[in-house]
Subunit: 195 residues, 4 copies
DNA sequence: AATGAATGAGCTTTCATTCAT
DNA sequence: GATGAATGAAAGCTCATTCAT
């Protein structure tokens, strides 16, 4: 990568990083492009070199951060060593939940956007990479594809919704307290799909 | 109610009704107060007689619509005639889901705000009214209050998250197809909390 | 007209008057809306209460000033007392040319927009008023309508084009020097259409 | 011309050609330098190697295209074979009018800039070339120079103004229909100057 | 209570111009 | 000579809010 190319990437990264901080602290509606460029230390025009508007930047940010989240979980959860698919799923989820606990800003940012829809988008975008891994997960063969989809959909949406409240506000309980209940609930759902 | 009182109420209602339509169709960020008053047929200054700003109006709208939703469910689901608490819960949920299916705008509007938090707010605000009804629901005595809270929390968040996608986009399946799975999942969760 | 109504009209007039001065002195492209409102002594938002943008204001200005020009000619040229249609036409034209000579800014502003097209627009817009007068001018009956149209078109476009250069730059001669030639040319054209 | 020279000329031509298209289709005010360089396939900085700004380019374009127009008329109208000066003038004008009819974009571009002033500029700029031809046209000796100037001025301005409307909008008639009237009008003007 | 003209801070966006490569 | 990333002044425009009527 040439000097110029490096510089470009650096500016783009700076804008994304800054925007992330501002979006999470003040909300996207209350964040102006002036805020972003000022804090990022670039000129206003530079923003428009890389993004259409702040909503464009926001979308790119969501995709980017979701991918990071998922990649980390796949690389660090150790799911490959486990036997059952349910166990694999649980450790992947736990890894993500703890990443979010460590980074509540990210949780607030991704809030209610970690969804079935996004999950699919991320997977499709990375066929060569970890998406491949996902396809190897054997519980794709246990039942009909549709059934599996519904099962995953139910679980993902539930975990996503539940984690927001629990991690950010500890309401009604803290993440640590909640985890055993969550695991039990998930296992129960899985069982209900496979009896 | 005097003529003057009636007129006031009428203007306020008109503003709320109009705002609801605009918020759901264009989003709150893209709806201006000018839009609202113009469509409602009142003067700009009048808006400020009743609401602090559009976010104030929005909050009042959420509460109001949620209450209606819940009241209808309590009055029409026939939950009193059922035996077990789980059955009661399921028919109440179904009633709400079908109300939302009939009124997708309302679903889009309340989306991701039908939450544990709101559920509590609504209940607290109406102690005299139907909230009282809720307190009579016997499964409040079955287990410790905390356990019950966690259980309800888990279920409510799951149903809320799941219904949005299913009702509005029929993804991954339609509401009718999904309901049996949802019932089974809920029963599974309930069971996992009471074994 | 109520106090409020008067005030509105006053602001609108002030904006139009100011814009006229700026458009003629700096050109419309180099005039900003900030310039206009600042000089007119109103707030920026007020501009948008009355005009879509500066081009909208410009068009309204053209129509307005053209009407004034024509009205004055019809009221002061004394054309009614003359016998032939050609004589009537000539005194009306002369009146307009001398108005423009007195007000070169106006000429520069209307430049090359005093056209056949505009002439028609103005006449159509004022059916009740002086347009009525025009319709009474007997030379509308002398020849077929089409012939008359072509004749008027030729003369108006010529006078319009020619006057700009003559009045503003006295190139190749001054207005006074040019008038006899112009009259002779117009009479020649008229004759060529009626022989 | 060296390879380098050729390349330079080619870039300059490309910029002028592109600008012409953009100026006529969107207007000069709505055409940005970015538009021009992008469509011309050169870098932004390159523009400034050849032109001061877009208005500089515009002026060069006007001169250039006017010269082409006139050169063609002088070379193809066959005016040399005609007897009277009026006949020569008419065929030259007709040639130009038909060039413009074939190329309405050019007419729109040159609109209202084909004037007495420009006519002089073009003639002065090409003393050695076809301007010389013009000076040989005998009707320059028929009357006093001033009289001739006024005559030409009147005719050129009239034809210029009239042709725009007739060619581009066929209002009030088409060019073909209009030509006989125009010829008669011009002959009438000429006669009025020479009686 | 109701109005709506007026405000002006502050937003988004554009684009001519520069200059290191 | 040619490039195009970066700039930032300055434009157009919006809209929540006020307040005299």
């Amino acid at each position: 990568m040439s000097r110029v190319e490096e510089n470009k990437q650096q500016k783009k990264n700076s804008l994304m990083e800054t925007a992330f901080q501002l979006f999470t602290s003040k909300g996207i509606a209350n964040t102006t492009i002036s805020d972003i460029v000022e804090m990022a230390g670039v000129a206003k025009g530079t923003f428009y070199l890389y993004f259409k508007d702040k909503y464009d930047l926001n979308e790119k940010l969501i995709i980017h951060r979701s991918e990071q989240l998922m990649r980390h979980a796949l690389e660090h959860s150790g799911y490959e060593k486990l036997e059952t698919n349910t166990d694999k799923l649980l450790v992947i989820m736990d890894d993500i939940l703890f990443q979010l606990k460590e980074n509540p800003l990210l949780l607030r940012f991704l809030n209610k956007r970690i969804s079935w829809e996004l999950f699919y988008k991320v997977m499709e975008k990375n066929e060569e990479g970890y998406a491949a891994v996902f396809k190897n997960i054997p519980w794709q063969d246990d039942a009909g594809r549709k059934n599996l989809e519904i099962e995953l959909f139910t679980i993902i949406e539930m975990v996503s919704a539940v984690s927001y409240s629990v991690i950010l506000t500890s309401d009604p309980v803290s993440l640590e307290e909640f985890l055993p209940y969550l695991h039990r609930s998930i296992r129960a759902i899985v069982a209900s799909f496979h009896k």
